[in-house]
Structures are given as structure tokens and as C-alpha cells.
Symmetry: C2
Subunit: 260 residues, 2 copies
């Protein structure tokens, strides 16, 4: 998050003092820099700063994966692993607002109540065979979209649970296992496997599409309908402790630096 | 291939005595049956019957894979394995007619000259790493489409050779190895993995699209521009010998039954 210090003569969408997030790939670690006005997303003054700081990566990743691959209708199911990640939680909340149901796979049982509280319809731990659990719990309902940030067996079980012509979008590889897919699943169910990386999307997308997305995301953040939990904030002087904390398992939210 | 024995009152696109191929999933092993006229593709009288007998599977599979996934432009490369299969040879010939270049992967060196004679631009044997060979031979040219009938390492090497945003279509699994894909390839190159099965396509496609395709394929077959080699034909009474021959490796073409 930054604050506009000065605007050029032709800039009408930003005012001095306005909080913004930047889509530039430079300038995040300096006191001030010059940016194209189109690369800055104006924020309302009352947006929670911690949430705004996370606004350019996780919520857009979730938003684009729900928007950009499959024409989802209310009542459709989306199946995801790594459901307690920042992206996973954004998927749960955005899907819920759109009437889309989610099956959420996590590694630890103690995450189930908190994800349910955020709006998850079904939360299960990743005991194989996942696909049988998913089939039983959803009553074999239509699941045209799967989201995968793990790889390996977990990804394969999601693919098995998708409906015919379903799409599996991979956006991470936390399990470090390659994606392994039965050829027959791909051929006879006419599945589609895609990858997604939000930075590549920012690079290729129309400026209008990017601004449209933020125009829809920002009110959700400001109203608290979409929120990513923060475990703890640190000043930069405690960077070492912050990094140690961030690399711990079992966290309930993000570790953030406070820059004041 | 069948011959029209009788037509109903409203049928204008077929005449008695006309050779046809049938898209019905029944009736291939009987002397006569009743079909919807739209499910029969009329053939010219001078079409080679052996080629017509193979017209409904391999050439349409090749045609649809070249048409249905990526907008190929003349000069683009397509990379395929199992290049000496019936589908593989049809891909080579159709691609060549459209000005599309092919990299063809085969298991045996002795297949190289015959595939080159059919119009293959590059033929290589599947020694790993394939992707380095492909890169060197094509001069790193744009390859937006890969066709995979093998799986495993072969499929992965094709995927590695595709350009950004490339598509890998899997239509077979001769290697019996699951498709294994690095997650990073999928995410950072924005690849897309799809499956294709021509029978499913027939089931879902518009009748108009099916007839349009055959209207383009049939002249290619009749003129000999598109041909699948036949190794040997057998009468039905020699079924045992025919099956034994068909299951041999090292064949140069299809084994067909002659039904007279």
C-alpha cells in the first residue's frame, strides 16, 4: 500500500493523500517512485491497511480462478486443496458470495471449524481416497472446477472428482510432487488441465479488466466480507523473528511487516 | 463402408447404391439396418474402399486435433509422438496440406524415411532428452500444439518443447504411463492439457460440423492426398491369422478385413 504524494496534470482518478496499491513490479521497497496512474489502484480511505497490503495477490488469484476458466453457476461445486492458504480462504469467501459451493481439502483437522466459519460448505482432511469422500459428501453433484496448489496424489484425486469436461487449475506446488494424471481420465472425461499465475495475468490482461476486478474486490474488503486472517505483524527491525514465525507450520494467518 | 439399399421419402442427399460411412454406433456387423440419413456420410463412387473403411476414425481424429484446440497458422510447428500410427500419419499429411510443420517422434529408426516421404518435416526417435533435440532441430520455433498418444516421459518432453500458452492434447496411452507434468511448467508457461476422443466428439458435435469436416476430408482421400497405408487385407474366414498379424510390432500399416 502506498500514498499518492503528487499527481501529474492529466491524472484525474487519483488525489494527493489517497491510499493506492501498485501493479508495478518495481518500487515496493523504496520511499517514493514515479508510476503510471493506470498502474495504481485507488483505495477508499477506510480500507483496513493490513487487508489492502494483501489485496494485489491472493484475492485476485482466487477471483480470476473462479472467473477466468469455467462459467460457474450458483449451486456448482468447486473443489480445492490447500484450502487454508490465503488464496484458499479467498476462494471460500468469494465463492460463497456468488452462491458457489466449495469442497475444501486441508491437512489438519483443527482447521475445519475456522474454514467452516469463513463459509466453506465442506472441509475434509486429505486422507486418500479423497475422491470417494468427495463423491459421498456432495452426492455426486456437478463440480466443473478444481483448484490445485499441492500436486501429486491430491491433484489426481481432485481431477477424479470433477464432472465431465471439468477443468483443474494448478496455481501452486506445495507438495513438490509433479502432477500425475491418468490418460484415460483426460481422454474419456474430456478434462482440461490449466495453470494460473496472477503476475502473468497482470502482464497480459486489459487494464480495464484489472480495474473492473478491483472495483468489485475493494468493496468486499472494505465491508469485511472478504478478509485474510493475519497471525501477527512485526516492525522491520524484527525481520528475523518475523521470518522464523512465517516459516512455522500451524499458523492461522499471514505474517505482515508494519512499515511505520 | 456400406451401400444404401433403400431410401425414405424425405431423403434427398443419398441415392440407392451409394457408398456411405455410418456414424451410428450400431449396425456395423449386420447385413442391413435402418439409419437416420443424417448419420450417413455419402461417399463418391470412386473412393478407394479400403481408405473409406478407415475414414471415420483416424483422419477425423487428426483433423479435429489440428482444428479444434489451437488456431494454427502456416509455419507453426506441431509436435507428436506415435507418429507412425494411423492418426499420426493423418496428422502429418493434413498438417502438410495446411502449411503446418510437424516434429514426429517414433520408436524405430527405420520409420524415418517413410514418414518423411509422407510429408513429415522432422522425424526423430524417442531418445531422452527429446526436448533438447526438438529445440535444436526447430531452432526454438513456435510450437503451440502437441499431440500425445504415449504418456509418461514422452508426453512430458513434448510439453517442455511447446511455446508459452501451448496446448498438449492426449488421445491415447500406448506407453501405459500416466501423464506426469511439472507444476511449474503448467503455471509459468501457462500450458493447457486436454484430452480428445473422436467418439465423444461425434456424440456432442453439430451435425453440420461433422458433415463440413467430411466434405473436406473426402476429396483428400479420393485424390490420394490423404492415405493410410494398409499392410494386408484378410477375408473374415482368416480372422485368427489377421488378429495375430495385427498384434505384431513392426507393421507398416493397418490390417483390414475384406467383407465380400
Amino acid at each position: 500500500v502506498g500514498i499518492v504524494a503528487e499527481t501529474g496534470g492529466k491524472v484525474s482518478n487519483l488525489r494527493v493523500g489517497q491510499p493506492v496499491i501498485s501493479l508495478d513490479r518495481v518500487g515496493h521497497w523504496c520511499d517514493a517512485y514515479v508510476s503510471d496512474a493506470q498502474s495504481l489502484i485507488p483505495l477508499p480511505d477506510d480500507i483496513p491497511l493490513e487487508q489492502a497490503a494483501m489485496l494485489s495477490v491472493n484475492p485476485p488469484t482466487a477471483w480470476r480462478m473462479l472467473e477466468g476458466f469455467v462459467d460457474l453457476k450458483p449451486g456448482d461445486w468447486v473443489i480445492q486443496n490447500a484450502a487454508n492458504s490465503g488464496v484458499g480462504r479467498a476462494v471460500i469467501q468469494i465463492a460463497r458470495l456468488r452462491g458457489i459451493k466449495t469442497v475444501n481439502i486441508v491437512r489438519r483437522e483443527d482447521l475445519i471449524p475456522e474454514l467452516e466459519a469463513e463459509g466453506a460448505d465442506i472441509v475434509i482432511t486429505d486422507e486418500i481416497p479423497l475422491s470417494k469422500q468427495i463423491r459421498d459428501l456432495t452426492g455426486n453433484a456437478d463440480a466443473p472446477l478444481g483448484l490445485n496448489a499441492v500436486g501429486g496424489e491430491s491433484a489426481r484425486e481432485i481431477a477424479k472428482s470433477l464432472s465431465d469436461h471439468g477443468t483443474l487449475v494448478t496455481y501452486g506446488a506445495m507438495g513438490l510432487q509433479p502432477l500425475q494424471m491418468s490418460n484415460s481420465l483426460l481422454i474419456f472425461k474430456d478434462l482440461c488441465f490449466r495453470g494460473f499465475w496472477v503476475n502473468a495475468w497482470y502482464k497480459h490482461a486489459d487494464t480495464k479488466d484489472i480495474h473492473d476486478m478491483f472495483n468489485q474486490l475493494i468493496p468486499l474488503i472494505t465491508s469485511g466480507k472478504l478478509t485474510v486472517p493475519v497471525e501477527k505483524t512485526y516492525p522491520l527491525t524484527d525481520a528475523k523473528a518475523a521470518l522464523a514465525h512465517a516459516s512455522q507450520g500451524g499458523r492461522k494467518g499471514k505474517i505482515l511487516f508494519v512499515m511505520n
